[in-house]
Symmetry: C2
Subunit: 193 residues, 2 copies
């Protein structure tokens, strides 16, 4: 039996959309503005759900890797924005641990992570997570965020990953609302689907 490599193509629009590699993102709000823009573009371009993420190096303020939700575009339920950004960042730095590669890495996410993405964070060598919309905001639109342990943000902090919440929350929620208003697909992949 032959099995192909697993490939997640990145949408063509993404590279053109991103700013110069020299741009400095030195505040949580500036980093969040980029990922909210990514989420918004992702639904406008029809390449996936209303979620954007990116990995930044907090020392240099530079973008390491972007991510958008590509579940429907790539037929891959794993392709949430956060995991796309983490996989891309790890590929670019050549290490499965961003801290081992010398990065002081923040994952910025337009919405708080679902149970899968939350579980992925400690394996990636991150130092900080910064979130826009709350998971309750995603649930309000119809997305299932999964079964997260209670006080998940405290558990991350215990693992040495700082958590910033509600960064530009209202702008992040506006993208979720826009998706709902335009009748975007809610793709939870449940058995009854």
């Amino acid at each position: 039996m032959n099995f192909p490599a697993i490939t997640l193509p990145i949408p063509d629009w993404l590279s053109a959309f991103l700013p110069s590699p020299e741009q400095i993102f030195d505040t949580p709000e500036s980093r969040m503005a980029l990922v909210i823009d990514l989420a918004s573009h992702n639904i406008r371009q029809g390449t996936g759900g209303p979620f954007g993420a990116a990995v930044f190096d907090l020392d240099s303020g530079r973008l390491i890797a972007p991510g958008v939700n590509l579940v429907t575009a790539t037929c891959c339920s794993v392709a949430h924005a956060e995991l796309v950004a983490l996989m891309m960042a790890q590929r670019l730095v050549g290490n499965f641990s961003l801290s081992a590669a010398g990065c002081n890495a923040e994952l910025t996410s337009s919405t708080e992570p679902c149970a899968m993405c939350l579980g992925a964070l400690p394996w990636a060598g991150l130092r900080q997570l910064s979130c826009g919309a709350r998971d309750s905001d995603a649930r309000a639109v119809g997305f299932d965020e999964g079964d997260k342990p209670p006080h998940w943000h405290r558990l991350l902090e215990k693992r040495g990953i700082r958590v910033l919440r509600d960064i530009c929350r209202s702008q992040a929620v506006a993208v979720l609302d826009q998706y709902r208003l335009q009748g975007g697909e809610i793709y939870n992949g449940r058995p009854e689907c």
Copy 2:
């Protein structure tokens, strides 16, 4: 800024190792035997950690897709055996939901899922999860399984995903022990790494 596609190459040995596509796996033990063999081969071949997984169609008894842990080989902390198998299966059936693609899909895993893989299960359209070693067995070897919600198996059952535990547990644990004895890398990707 240009960003490449995300690619997880599959080890060369995998296709040669797998049985004929005609082979029927009609018991949990027969399916578990294959994934334990995958885990064992993965450490012998030096392509990753002591974890194997596969997606089977319970109606036909056929293998849909295999997976092995490829974290170190692919520089990707997401490349746990379970997620490799799910991504491969979804690619092969052309749908991010295995149930929507008409599969009565079981994920068989040589060890109970970590928090990330557990969180991924509801998004994949699975009907059943079958596990060999317990997560406590993986912790005993040194692997961090993450912060899983209490009674995680009951939460999966509530979502319509049946859970079988302790299938060939002692054989599954033997592979974990073998990895520890040979001094295999424990790669949790924590910030202090």
